[in-house]
Structures are given as C-alpha cells and as structure tokens.
Amino acid sequence: MSTAAETAAQLIYPPNIKYNSALTSVKFLASCFAGAVAGILGLTNWTGFALFLVSTLFTSLCINVINCHGHPAKYIPGGWTGLLNPGTDNASTFVLVWTLFYGIVHVY
C-alpha cells in the first residue's frame, strides 16, 4: 500500500508546479531591492537583516494577495510555509546587493 506521503503526492499535478516557479523571480527581485535599500540607508549589522525580514514578510503578503488571491495552498506546494520562504540563496543575494550599494554610496 502507498504511504500517506505518496498518496498526497499523487494528488498533485507536477507540470503546474513547474509553471508556478515564476514566483522565484519575484522573490529574487524583492531581495535585490531590499539589499539596495539597506545599502543606501547605510544599515549595518542586525538592522540590515531586520530590513530583510520585513521585506520577506512584505513580499509574502504581496504574493499572497496579488498572485495567489488569498489561497496559497492552491498554488504553492508548501502552503503558507512555502509562501514565507525567502527563496533559495536569496539571503546571500540580499547581502551581495547590500554590500555593493553600501560600498558605492558610503565608502567610495
């Protein structure tokens, strides 16, 4: 007999999951903008990561309202936990753009 995990996986249609991966570009762009703003404002240390956290929450809210129309479980495999995830390597994207803008604006 199939396990509960296999049964749950059989109810999902994989080509549509692949199609919905357009959301990764939304999260990537949002973390780029957050990094730019953190660098421009000269944030350092924990305040910068606080901005990243706020930006992640705001991005999740935007995706929930605009793209998922209020029902994240219908479009994202993890439900609302998949929604809150900032995305693969987007924390390092944030730090990269943060250091870039901080260096250009404040140091050079």
């Binding site: 109810l11 249609y13 549509n16 903008f33 730019a36």
Partner: protein
C-alpha cells in the same frame, strides 16, 4: 504591463536615492561635519522604491496555475487522460461495416 512600469520606476527611484545619498554625504564631508543621519525624504524615497519594486515584481509574474489534479481535470476530459483502450468496444462499428449492403444501414 503595470508590473514592468512599476519595476522600472522602482529601479530609477533606487538609483536616484543612491545618488542623493552620495551627494549628501559628499556635502557633509566637504563641510567637515561629522556624519549624521540621512534626510527623511531620502529614507522615504528608498522605502517607497522598495515597496514599488516588490509590487511590480509580483504584478510582473504570469497568472499561476492550480497544482492539484482535481483542478487540472476541470479543464480536461477524462478520455484525454485515461482512455482505457483495453476496455474500448468496437462491436457496433464492426456490425455496421461488415453487415453487407442493406437498404437501411445506420452508422452510429
């Protein structure tokens, strides 16, 4: 289209805020004053660019598709997905094709 417009506008606003900050800091360095906090309008401009950028990225994404099999089956016929060829019945067709010439042959 609105998403692209918002993204472009946010990118320009970020660059403008970055240049304004650079100019402000250069001004402070030239005057010899110690570096204080940024003017409030630059902070507001940077945060506004972050909000616009996130909204633009979210609007730019294509409409998502639902990921469950039930949702996909609403758009398709069961015969497209599971035709069950082993159970297809050709009896009626054979009766009409090979019954020889007769005055009232109806094709079903």
């Amino acid at each position: 289209m609105l998403g692209t417009v918002l993204l472009t506008f946010a990118a320009i606003t970020v660059l403008h805020a970055a240049f304004s900050t650079y100019e402000h800091l250069s001004h402070l360095k030239a005057m010899g004053r110690p570096e204080g906090s940024l003017p409030i309008d630059i902070i507001v401009e940077a945060l506004f660019a972050l909000i616009c950028g996130t909204l633009g990225a979210s609007l730019n994404a294509p409409p998502l598709k639902e990921i469950s099999w039930a949702a996909e089956m609403r758009k398709r016929n069961i015969d497209e997905m599971d035709s069950r060829l082993g159970f297809a019945s050709f009896v009626n067709r054979g009766r009409n094709l090979f019954s020889g010439p007769s005055s009232q042959t109806k094709l079903k």
